[in-house]
């Protein structure tokens, strides 16, 4: 299928499904009704939690996927045999993309109970824990081998977890027989190492007649601790295996939020020659691979459904619907203006939870500004609310980055002709600034090509003011500099500067990297920079890096597949000769670079080797078609099967980070020339 039609179709479905209404819980309720006592305002109750699928802001097809899985898990699909394989469902995705909420909504719709595991402690045990603090030091030992330190009355957290699962699997009656719902005090995992736990269950839907159940694991045990992780995997594996023979227990749903990449993370340490070095660097990251392990992930018992950031259109609809619900038929008193909504949606980056928080804040702030709205400066009042909102809700980093990139990339220097749209006041300000700038001393003749006018940008001030670390700064400059150059020589200066700073800085963040990059960029860019309506984009590096890591995982899959095939051929004596297990014979780089053709041929012939099917993930690295059209960097090659599912939202996502709202863009003044926030103050 070609990409074009699918994505356009996609957009249309997005539009269709955009009649959907709000979603996820709002943390605090009663946004501005002063009649409510203040204590009630803050109760952590999910007032606007969606109850039907129509309320969810999730893409319809995602919900459908999850529903189909659940139905198959309960009923076994059309052939009645699928039940055995619908054991573990993994929901992944960034924070605030309604993973858990989707499950809860479906539980209401399909009528099943959710048994949820919670790391925590109840009051009695909490006291005990405080009494014998000496137990604290043994935390890790207790966790790894609970029998070494027999402590009467205290059960290791993992044992509790295990027995919770066993009970959930075997006898649902225990859960129905009224376990005391003690206060839930979720601890941070580290602190709760030795703390006793308590398994709680949510009995929201006790009334439903069928006793269908789903086990929800969201609050996982401390998986960064290697022995715990091993035991966790063993438990999950046993879930798959034991139940395949007898009647299976309730299916298990695991919810994992993606943490995302960080810019300061260096690229692989051993990338140049292969090896498999990158594996260990990731062991600190809690992602679906480290939680489940590659074997389990590849097994037929585990299904993985990835959630995408919520598309702006869907989110807008959801927020509007929520506002309509909240304010009812009231006249628009206290209702945040439409621009505010736009800003909220735009700054939330697809995280609906944070969008709701921001919305609530908007309600509060526009309430305080109510008196203002009555005076003639009505429009300004609305605008100030937007500005305040922007200052508060926009992720601090992106706002700062936005201004920083503007300062650096526009490279304003002394006596630049003022741009046409500038107001008289700002022009005067610029002139005033120019007065203060001293001209640099003239350079000798042989250095005359380095001569520049004095810069209006004070690098010292920029460095001191920005809380952004140099690697992120470098990535942003790298992503965007080409738009601001009109000649290849200028590109050379910028890029060589970046390369130099990265080389000298190496893996360590030196304090000099930031100013070096800023200065070299300013020096190399043309002056004045042509204003062509450039847009600052989020670095494609993040997406590429994610894809690269996935592809390396795929290489790892193929490597372990090769190893298994080798071992099978050792024991399976189909050849009658003693083969050597080919482990270590294949470095990962060899697989990535040389096996492409063979893997594709294998994939096409569809045969299996030694009874083991080729892992399908090999396509992530084995096929590399040349796409001649000029595509945006962040776009994925149409390789993933579910591409059409997240085509549209992702396209929005790439440039979402740094856009200003539409009307400002139309003004041509998309860039914040003057700090709006200052004016408000």
């Amino acid at each position: 299928m070609s990409r074009k039609p699918s994505s356009s179709q996609n957009r249309s479905t997005t539009r269709q499904s955009s009649q959907k209404k709000p979603q996820t819980r709002i943390r605090t309720v009663k946004l501005d009704e002063s009649s409510e006592p203040p204590t009630k305002k803050l109760r952590p109750h999910d007032k606007y939690e969606p109850t039907t699928e129509a309320d969810l802001a999730v893409h319809k097809r995602k919900v459908e996927d999850v529903r189909r899985w659940l139905v198959e898990a309960f009923e076994g699909g059309p052939s009645r045999k699928l039940r055995k394989y619908r054991r573990i469902l993994v929901l992944t995705g960034p924070a605030g993309t309604a993973k858990t909420t989707t499950l809860r909504v479906l539980s209401r719709e399909l009528g099943f109970e959710i048994l949820e595991w919670c790391n925590g402690m109840n009051d009695r045990n909490a006291n005990k824990y405080v009494e014998d603090l000496d137990g604290y030091d043994y935390g890790n030992d207790l966790l790894s081998c609970p029998r070494r330190l027999p402590r009467p009355g205290v059960e290791a957290i993992f044992d509790k977890f295990q027995s919770f699962l066993t009970r959930a699997m075997s006898c649902s009656s225990i859960f129905n027989a009224g376990v005391p719902t003690a206060s839930q005090l979720p601890l941070s995992l580290r602190a709760s190492c030795s703390a006793p736990t308590q398994s709680s269950y949510s009995d929201n839907h006790a009334g439903c007649p069928q006793k269908r159940q789903v086990v929800l694991l969201e609050d996982l045990p401390n998986l960064l601790h290697a022995p715990t992780q091993a035991r966790f995997k063993a438990v999950l594996e046993s879930l798959c295996v034991t139940n395949s023979s007898s009647t299976p227990g309730p299916p298990v749903v695991i919810v994992i939020s993606d943490a995302g990449l960080r810019a300061e993370q260096p690229d692989d340490e051993s990338w140049d020659g292969g090896g498999s070095g990158r594996r260990w660097g990731r062991s600190e990251i809690l992602d679906v691979r480290s939680v489940l392990g590659p074997e389990l992930l590849a097994s037929p018992y585990v299904t993985r459904i990835g959630f995408n950031p919520i598309a702006p259109t869907l989110m807008t609809k959801a927020l509007q619907a929520l506002l309509a619900k909240h304010f009812g038929s009231q006249v628009s008193g206290g209702k945040p203006p439409k621009e505010a909504l736009d800003v909220i949606v735009e700054t939330a980056n697809g995280d609906i939870r944070s969008a709701l928080m921001a919305l609530q804040f908007a309600c509060v702030s526009s309430l305080s500004g109510k008196s203002q709205t009555k005076n003639p400066r009505n429009r300004n009042g609305g605008k100030s609310a937007v500005a305040v909102l922007e200052a508060v809700t926009r992720r601090e980093q992106s706002l700062v980055l936005f201004h920083l990139m503007g300062k650096i990339l526009y490279n304003k220097r002394k006596r630049d002709p003022p741009i046409s749209r500038i107001s008289a006041r700002e022009a005067a300000k610029e002139r005033e600034l120019d007065e203060k700038l001293a001209d640099p001393p003239p350079l000798p003749r042989w250095l005359s090509h380095h001569e520049r006018k004095a810069s209006r940008v004070s690098v010292e001030a920029v460095v001191a003011d920005s809380p952004i670390d140099s690697s992120l700064f470098g990535l942003y400059i790298h992503q965007n500099y080409t738009q601001f150059c009109d000649d290849i020589e200028q590109c050379e200066g910028v890029c060589d500067g970046l390369s130099w700073a990265d080389w000298v800085g190496g893996n360590f963040n030196t304090p000099y990297a930031f100013p070096t990059m800023a200065l070299s960029t300013l020096h190399a860019l043309p002056t004045p920079v042509p204003r062509l309506g450039q847009k600052v984009c989020k670095p494609a590096w993040f997406d590429v890096r994610t894809k690269e890591l996935e592809a390396w995982d795929a290489v790892g899959d193929v490597a372990s597949w090769l190893a298994h095939v080798g071992i099978n051929s050792l024991s399976g004596d189909s050849l009658g000769e003693d083969d050597i297990a080919p482990i270590g014979r294949w470095t990962h780089a060899d697989i990535a670079m040389e096996m492409g053709g063979w893997l594709r041929a294998m994939g096409q012939s569809g045969s299996s080797v030694g009874g083991l099917a080729l892992p399908s993930s090999h396509r992530l690295f084995s096929t590399l078609p040349w796409v001649s059209t000029l595509m945006t960097v962040g776009d994925a090659i149409g390789e993933h099967e579910d591409m059409e599912m997240h085509g549209a939202p992702e396209e929005d996502g790439d440039v979402r980070a740094l856009h200003l709202s539409k009307d400002e863009e139309d003004d041509g003044k998309w860039w914040a020339e003057v700090d709006d926030i200052e004016d408000v103050d």
Binding site: G273, S471, E492, S574, A581, V609
Partner: protein, 356 residues
């Protein structure tokens, strides 16, 4: 059933199809009492690891083929835990230290010390020492290499090292001087054809000599690549007759097209385009050094004689930066921009002089 490359890998020194002189020498070495530390080096796909395994078998008998995989945990100085896979028999251990990333020194030190301090327990063993095979030895960090050099002297009584590397240039001199260097050259086209015919005979079919010649020439001395291509072709067209179409790996053709992009146009927009292509290559696990090398070689073919040296110089320059830096794309792109600049200036000047 496994890959032909793995399945028909020779098991003993006698089975080897080429480099017979080397085989006899290895046999003699294995028979003698004082077996040295060894360093096998040569291009990839030449048969280094095959020869190492044959030598081990010659040393200890078929017991070395009883392999098991062990997962060991090492603790780095900063308290991080490293899990390393070890392939071992009762006579030898095989490690790939690059798995440990920058902590390879810890792994090498701990592991060698441990092995060196335990005696061979199997009384029936032919030799008193154990062998440690270190794959990809040229990727060991300087630290690890320095650690290795002390260990090699200290524990000579219990331990022999066999290093395997693509080139000796990245190994420090003290290690090179402590090892017997064994160069495993790439097989010639004829030798590769012999191997392919052997494989075909084992699989009970005939390979037309033209086909094997074409495959061998395409593989350019990489036996592993040749056998992989052979197997893939056999899967696609079982009779192997007619003109064979040996596709270059995708990434290679991709790199060549990137080179075209660079030569065609030199502008900031083109830089963005090339960057997109680089990103695509990187996300398909192609090592950046390989990308740089392949693209540079292709660009050099397309430009004027006067530019070639400069282009290669800058490729080397930015490759060094890439190795020392942390974000590879900066350096790849810096090289591209540099080449574009050179090329543009060159054509500009050239045109001018012609018209003068």
């Amino acid at each position: 059933m496994s890959l032909w490359v793995d399945r028909f890998r020779p098991k003993t020194l006698d089975d080897l199809h080429y480099h017979h002189d080397l085989s006899t020498r290895l046999k003699a070495l294995a028979a003698s009492e004082d077996f040295p530390h060894m360093l096998f080096y040569g291009p990839s796909g030449a048969g280094k690891k095959t020869r190492i395994n044959c030598t081990l078998r010659q040393l200890f008998g078929s017991g070395v083929e009883k392999l098991k995989i062990d997962q060991r945990v090492f603790v780095s100085p900063s308290r991080r835990k490293l899990e390393i896979n070890l392939v071992q028999s009762s006579y030898h251990i095989e490690i790939t230290p690059s798995e440990a990333g920058s902590y390879d020194r810890v792994v090498v030190q701990d592991l060698l010390k441990e092995i060196a301090q335990t005696q061979q327990v199997d009384l029936g063993a032919k030799h008193r020492f154990k062998v440690v095979v270190i794959n990809e030895a040229d990727l060991l960090s300087r630290d690890a290499q320095a650690a290795l050099r002390r260990t090699m002297e200290k524990y000579m009584s219990n331990l022999r090292l066999i290093l395997c590397a693509n080139s000796t240039s990245r190994l420090i001199a003290p290690i090179r001087s402590r090892c017997l260097l064994v160069r495993v050259a790439a097989p010639t086209t004829q030798e590769m054809q012999v191997v392919m015919e052997h494989v075909a005979k084992k699989m009970k079919f005939d390979i037309p000599p033209e086909a094997s010649l074409q495959i061998a020439e395409d593989a350019a001395g990489n036996m592993r690549k040749a056998l992989l291509v052979f197997e893939a072709l056999k899967m696609q067209s079982p009779d192997l007759s007619g003109p064979l179409h040996i596709a270059k790996p995708d990434w290679e053709t991709y790199c060549h097209k990137v080179a075209d992009l660079i030569v065609q146009e030199q502008s900031p927009a083109r830089v963005m385009e090339v960057r997109a292509k680089f990103y695509e290559l990187l996300s398909h696990c192609i090592p950046p050094t390989v990308i740089l090398k392949t693209v540079a070689e292709k660009v050099v073919q397309k430009v004027d004689e006067a530019l070639k040296a400069d282009i290669m110089h800058w490729a080397a320059f930015y490759e060094l930066r890439m190795r020392l830096g942390s974000k590879k794309i900066y350096h790849l792109e810096a090289w591209v921009v540099k080449v574009m600049c050179l090329y543009k200036h060159f054509t500009y000047n050239f045109d001018m002089s012609e018209f003068d």
